[in-house]
Symmetry: C2
């Protein structure tokens, strides 16, 4: 992949030719009744080209894609057309305008969609967001390799976490040292999330009672955060004996993210916390054995739910004062992709899915426990863990 | 303001009562022909309530606001109504439905706007984004005080930057140390930007030739970045003698951001770079003298442009291979607010504006030079600099 990177200066397409074809063909196969897509969401542009740029990919059901670029000005390639405004797009497409145009209705603003739809008078509008979300839920081997590489670095960063703790540290102080170490290992920092309502900076560290502070965001866990303008995660409290420290930090090292959580502790923690942590590990074992192509995503949720109830841990499961409605999610370019492992999910697992499982518990006055790993379903039916690392609660040395 | 923070646990409204009234009244004054706004963008929710939550503020032209909350579940206050889905909103509003409803057409997705507009059958839709953007461009004294406090911390972090440099460092390594210091000083990390196409992690450091690498984003400066998935800023090159180091890092310490750029150097830099840096400082002096209520924003652009041409620096101004189309912008909850200081801006300066000015230059093989400060126009007509710090290029000690 390093050969690919070296052309990053000028080539618009930063993926091998066959990889571009594979991705575009996968999207086309989902374009039933849709003549063309016009894509401008950064995550989707990155998927279709291997880079983020300001502009649009026009992907017809038949024929080559056209790349309309506003910025940067130095890109090159076949079918690259520079434009100043979207109104210039249809001049290039010419007379063969689509009857049904797919626009990203779930990520582009109302104003942007209205402006684009006016380019195609009389055309029907279809939802390109749904098509791309579906296509991106099944990763190519190239994408899985990107995630494997992120996972290796992610695991490496976590292996150093126990050494970062210093007595008297707050949750934020520990997080800052993990941020620094991650960044020096090559973490890009950015946490790409689908949807504008969810916000997070570099990940989440939860300690003690703050793990039980409800947050507005649809993440698995909460935390009050340091400020009401970003009310999630670490809140500035000192890590005290008897606390767990849940670390769920950014694994975006190359544009593809892995998602990983491990738990550390200071001193002795309660038996309840240990029991719940073991339940999480057991859920991982059980669910990964069930993760085969064709399995309904909600069957995983139901199995986990049954295990939790059987062990009497339900009131702590996926939160205590406030509960999350899912225990796993697809991950890739964004942290919240398909499939969703939730009670009413209609997703069916497929080879190529990459899924983060995060059955977690919030134990009052202790903190959060449970692990998260990112798994991929390979073509041969096996499940590979992209974040292999010790799973037990590790005590900080003091 | 600390008394306000202490109620953050449960009170929905985290602003003093008169501050809430002042902001809501300011928005209402702009609601000509609009019966009510339904707001859900995080930046706008924070403006109207003092906190981010998952839900909606319903702000009628007359009568009290209603706060529809989906998460977190523990919020309290008058006129707080918990909902699971937006369809429950109109049950609470009852028979007095608006004839014209303002929705955030420039920030909410097409799908979200369509879902909300179906709640008000037969009603006209107006653009709440435009109304709130205008209202937020004129800060209250409370908001300016928040920004003043961010500015103090921002300046403090910058004062330590020369001590963070170590020989042999790359741009990214230096950035990581600045990130760490900022975070330990209380920086929230998050860089709130209006619009989904612009992305940035914690700010931008530009060194040497990388300053001339065009980026897809509409920031003032570029940089290739470390990866084509986030092609902006530091690229991993070692800082070498003769280079400038432009630092434009996150100043979000309390939900309100200041914007600030300073330049450092390693060894001797070219006379051209010094001349351009002085030109930037001189532009700041000239433009702040012009910043009075009633001045057209574009007059500032034109004055700066004339100064640059007069000194023969035009080919380096606001970029070299690629040029930015503005030299200043409003700042507050987001980094790109009104007014915009650009050639075709129709904005007129008003007391309460907070404006970041960033006349910058890219000098090939040296790097970027020029400063950025955040200024506010006070009610008495004076201009206050919220980021007061030495402006000359400071050499790293080696």
């Amino acid at each position: 992949m390093s050969a690919v990177k070296s052309s990053a200066e000028t080539a618009l397409l930063l993926l091998p030719e066959d990889e571009v074809k594979r991705r575009h063909d996968k999207v086309r196969a989902l374009m039933t009744g849709v003549d063309a897509l016009l894509v401008s969401d950064n995550a989707n542009l990155y998927y279709l080209t291997g880079r983020v740029f300001a502009g649009y990919v026009y992907l017809p059901a038949e024929g080559p894609a056209i790349y309309f670029v506003r910025r940067p000005v130095h890109l090159e390639g076949d079918d690259v057309v520079f434009i100043r405004k979207p109104e210039e797009i249809t001049q290039t497409i010419g007379l063969n305008l689509p009857q049904t145009i797919g626009l990203e209705l779930d990520s582009e603003t109302y104003s942007a969609v209205m402006r684009l739809s006016r380019l195609f008078p009389g055309a029907q509008t279809a939802n390109a967001s749904a098509i791309l979300r579906q296509a991106r839920s099944v990763k190519t081997p190239f994408e899985i390799e990107m995630m494997r590489r992120s996972g290796v670095k992610h695991v490496h960063v976590y292996s150093h976490i126990p050494r970062l703790y210093q007595p008297g540290m707050t949750d934020i102080e520990l997080q800052v040292e993990i941020e620094r170490l991650s960044r020096l290992e090559g973490c890009l920092g950015q946490f790409r999330i689908a949807g504008s309502t969810m916000e997070l900076y570099m990940g989440n560290i939860l300690v003690g009672d703050n793990a039980d502070a409800p947050s507005p965001y649809d993440f698995a866990m909460g935390g009050a955060g340091a400020d009401p303008s970003l009310p999630v995660g670490a809140a500035g409290e000192e890590i005290a004996p008897g606390h767990t420290v849940m670390v769920d930090m950014n694994g975006n090292f190359d544009g593809y993210m892995t998602d990983m959580t491990r738990v550390y502790s200071l001193g002795e923690i309660s038996d309840l916390a240990r029991k719940a942590h073991q339940c999480s590990i057991d859920i991982h074992r059980r669910l990964t054995a069930m993760m085969t192509p064709g399995t309904p995503a909600k069957a995983l949720w139901e199995e986990a739910e049954a295990m939790v109830k059987e062990r009497g841990l339900h009131e702590y499961y996926m939160g205590h004062r406030q509960h999350a409605g899912f225990i796993g999610h697809g991950v890739g370019i964004q942290i919240n992709e398909l499939p969703v492992i939730a009670p009413r999910s209609r997703d069916i697992l497929a080879a190529g899915n990459v899924i983060a499982l995060e059955p977690k518990f919030v134990i009052p006055h202790v903190g959060a426990v449970g692990i998260e790993n990112t798994y991929t379903l390979l073509d041969d039916g096996s499940v590979e863990c992209l974040t292999p690392a010790p799973e037990a609660i590790e005590a900080f040395l003091v």
